[in-house]
């Protein structure tokens, strides 16, 4: 690991006084920095907090919020809670997978999109709901999601 990344992480750890019980907020900050949690970074955190790296990995893989592989630039959150599911969110998920060619990974090959299925966004009245990069889209159809993705792709090309 590079010394500059070590320094960056050490600074975050310092802010939490190297307390192992602050592992979750530490991982959140580190993920903000890297957009995911690289293995050597998790290893370094474990070493500095004097806890096994196996534990850090356990925490990082337990919470859906943490990613151990790089996330795309745009995160597409599709709600698959009860209301959205009834309103055919599955069709939207399938459409996204097909359009972005997602088979083994949830991130598109160009690194632009990551698909995340969430259990409930708390906006059941708008079902089915999709959130892309912080923008909420209500009562989404497969056509709409297709257009939204194309729009972002075109924007990215510019």
């Amino acid at each position: 690991m590079k010394t500059e990344s070590q320094e960056k992480i050490s600074k975050i750890l310092e802010n939490y006084s190297y307390k192992p019980e602050k592992l979750i907020p530490i991982l959140q900050k580190v993920q903000d920095e890297y957009n995911y949690l690289p293995k050597d970074v998790m290893d370094f955190i474990a070493y500095k907090l004097n806890i096994p790296s196996a534990r850090v990995f356990g925490v990082a893989t337990f919470f859906a919020h943490f990613a151990i592989t790089p996330k795309g630039k745009y995160i597409i959150k599709v709600c698959d809670g009860t209301a959205c599911h009834v309103k055919k969110s599955e069709a939207i998920i399938n459409k996204i997978k097909e359009k972005l060619n997602l088979t083994n990974s949830n991130t598109s090959e160009d690194g632009l999109f990551t698909l995340e299925c969430v259990s409930c966004l708390g906006a059941c009245g708008l079902a089915p709901v999709v959130v892309i990069g912080g923008d909420v889209h209500a009562q989404v159809t497969t056509q709409q999601i297709s257009d939204l993705i194309d729009g972002i792709k075109n924007e990215a090309k510019k």
Binding site: K39, M42, D43, F44, A46, Y47, I51, P52, S53, A54, R55, F57, G58, T61, F62, F63, A64
Partner: protein
């Protein structure tokens, strides 16, 4: 109220029987005291309580169904262990476990001593009413010592708690979530690429075949069937007091002569005793200690016979590498010596194999270490566990119990009682004391070693040498070793000589031994070794005339020349973060 009445009131009722409460930490222990072997996967007395397997369920009047491992006994409790409802719940739990993994008993390494298998039998499970899952994860064969088979894992977490709480290593943990949960080595790497020290205590507590010592049986058969090859074998002290358990003999019952006969029947050409090289180790190591002690150099001295401990130091405390005795372990000394002897007598190194029968999984890794080879031939070719060798004996259909005992081959089969003590925690220390006492002309009657024969994880003894005092500790369990190192660093404690064995209780409790769960059981094996010491003719390593002969034949003094080359080693800094 009189004291007697108070005492008789201090009980709970288990299945209509009154059982006194005597400070038990949970209900499960109390139920076992009432001679009911309540089933559990995840409860071990020396690990923290996890309460996950839900097999130790009991019905407590007024409290309903509870996991007994997680309940404190309270005066007056009325407990039912086997209600119709609980029996059904246990059955469902075990059936679900059986349905959720690949539990193919006939080909499993833990066949006949698997806890899942025996509980299924105990609970009378004849069919699995649930659909089998199709997920099969690949086995991790990367480690020299331990095989991981995740599709047999029941997620009890015993291995994780053992690795972290007792061994202070933490090489494995739960990862992922819900139905995807798995026990994986750090960062989902292969076992050989993480902090594992290969002690194998995880395999000992693993109730299924998810973790087990790696088998080298087929390679050993291949060597034995090779007609051009001479095959030597050595047996570690702890093996002889445990292998009998595989043949319904009591733990601690010494079966030395029977093992020798069995090994000869299996086709080994030379059957030697690691206790011989343990004597050799004492001569080298005690001499090294006296030298360091007088020069006050690289003190304190730590023992080096336990390969898991060596790995632990190299990985976590490489600054202590210089404090480790440079002596090889008895396994490696004998490997090097036997091959050297074979070559000196006109044989070719490529024509001899050295096999060792060990109570240990870490020895498998030790034998593969680069520095333990000469001219590209390993000093020890293959390592087999106590359980492994019993499988070979079974495969040949040998009726072990009714064999006629035979003696080890000479010269490397001759040992003193000191060499046999190596198999129990405190044994190396006792053997060293017997050597040092004579060299320093101490009054041996004044030295009482009983403190070294207890079940404790940390044992101490002091020797008076003139005006000086030699402070000695014998530690087993790597967490105990870690605590001791930290105390030495901070100056809280001081010792001159420290014996460390990675497995609690020493080699008698090693991962290659038949599975034990009670400390009493392990201690019986240690007592078997103490008995063997008494029955042997000689008790001090320096009295072993075959050891003296080794130095004559090599033409060198202790620790010098060829003896140094053959019997000493060096250590590597393996710290991940520098």
């Amino acid at each position: 109220m009189s004291k007697d009445i108070k005492e008789t009131e201090n009980f709970i009722t288990i299945e209509n029987i009154k059982v006194p409460i005597e400070g038990e930490k949970n209900l499960l222990v109390l139920i076992r005291k009432a001679n009911i072997e309540i089933p559990t996967f995840c409860y071990h007395s020396n690990l923290s309580t996890y309460g996950a397997c839900r097999l130790c369920l009991v019905d407590i009047e007024g409290m309903g169904i509870q996991a007994s491992c997680s309940i404190k006994p309270k005066v007056g409790m009325k407990v039912k262990v086997h209600t119709a409802q609980i029996r059904e719940m246990r059955r469902v739990n075990v059936e679900l476990l059986l349905a959720s993994g690949y539990h193919e008993c006939t080909t499993c390494s833990k066949n006949t001593f698997c806890k899942l298998q025996s509980l299924a039998r105990q609970l009378g499970i004849k069919e699995i009413r649930f659909k089998k899952t199709e997920k099969k994860s690949p086995r991790d064969l990367s480690s020299d010592a331990i095989v991981r088979d995740p599709s047999k894992c029941i997620l009890c977490g015993d291995c994780i708690r053992m690795c972290e709480e007792v061994q202070a290593v933490g090489a494995i943990d739960f990862a992922f979530r819900g139905s995807d949960t798995e026990v994986v080595p750090s960062l989902n790497k292969n076992l050989k690429d993480v902090e594992c020290v290969y002690c194998g205590q995880c395999t000992r507590v693993c109730p299924t075949g998810a973790l087990s010592p790696k088998s080298e049986v087929s390679k050993i058969w291949a060597d034995l069937h090779d007609k051009k090859r001479k095959v030597a074998v050595q047996i570690a002290p702890a093996v002889r007091v445990a292998i009998g358990e595989k043949y319904d003999l009591a733990p601690g019952k010494s079966t030395t002569g029977l093992i020798v006969t069995a090994l000869k029947m299996l086709g080994f050409d030379y059957v030697y005793d690691s206790s011989f090289s343990a004597d050799l180790t004492i001569v080298e190591e005690a001499n090294e200690f006296l030298d360091r002690f007088t020069k006050n150099k690289n003190m304190p001295q730590y023992t080096s016979c336990c390969p898991a401990w060596i790995r632990f130091v190299e990985q976590f405390y490489p600054e202590l590498n210089k404090n480790l005795s440079t002596c090889k372990s008895p396994q490696q000394m004998l490997g090097a010596l036997v091959k050297e002897d074979f070559v000196r007598k006109g044989g070719k190194r490529k024509d001899i194999s050295m096999i060792s029968v060990m109570p240990c999984s870490a020895k498998k890794h030790e034998a593969k270490r680069e520095e333990f080879s000469k001219e590209q031939y390993a000093d020890v070719d293959h390592v087999i566990t106590t359980v492994g060798v019993s499988r070979m004996i079974d495969e040949m259909g040998i009726d072990f119990r009714n064999l006629k005992p035979s003696s080890f081959d000479l010269p490397f089969g001759f040992k003193t009682g000191a060499g046999v003590l190596f198999g129990a925690s405190g044994g190396v220390t006792e053997a060293v004391i017997r050597y040092v006492a004579e060299k320093l002309a101490l009054k041996e009657d004044d030295i009482d070693c009983t403190a070294l024969r207890t079940i404790d994880g940390v044992k101490e003894i002091n020797l008076k040498v003139g005006k000086k005092e030699v402070k000695i500790a014998a530690v087993s369990g790597l967490k105990n070793a870690k605590d001791l190192i930290e105390d030495l660093k901070s100056g809280k404690r001081h010792y001159d000589f420290i014996e460390v064995m990675a497995c609690p209780g020493g080699c008698v409790g090693g991962a290659g031994q038949p599975v034990y769960s009670k400390v009493k059981h392990r201690q019986k094996r240690a007592e078997g070794l103490y008995k063997a010491d008494v029955t042997l003719e000689l008790h001090k390593s320096q009295e072993n005339h075959y050891v003296k002969k080794v130095y004559e034949e090599l033409g060198c003094k202790v620790g010098k020349g060829l003896a140094h080359e053959l019997f000493h080693t060096h250590y590597t800094d393996r710290k991940k973060h520098k």
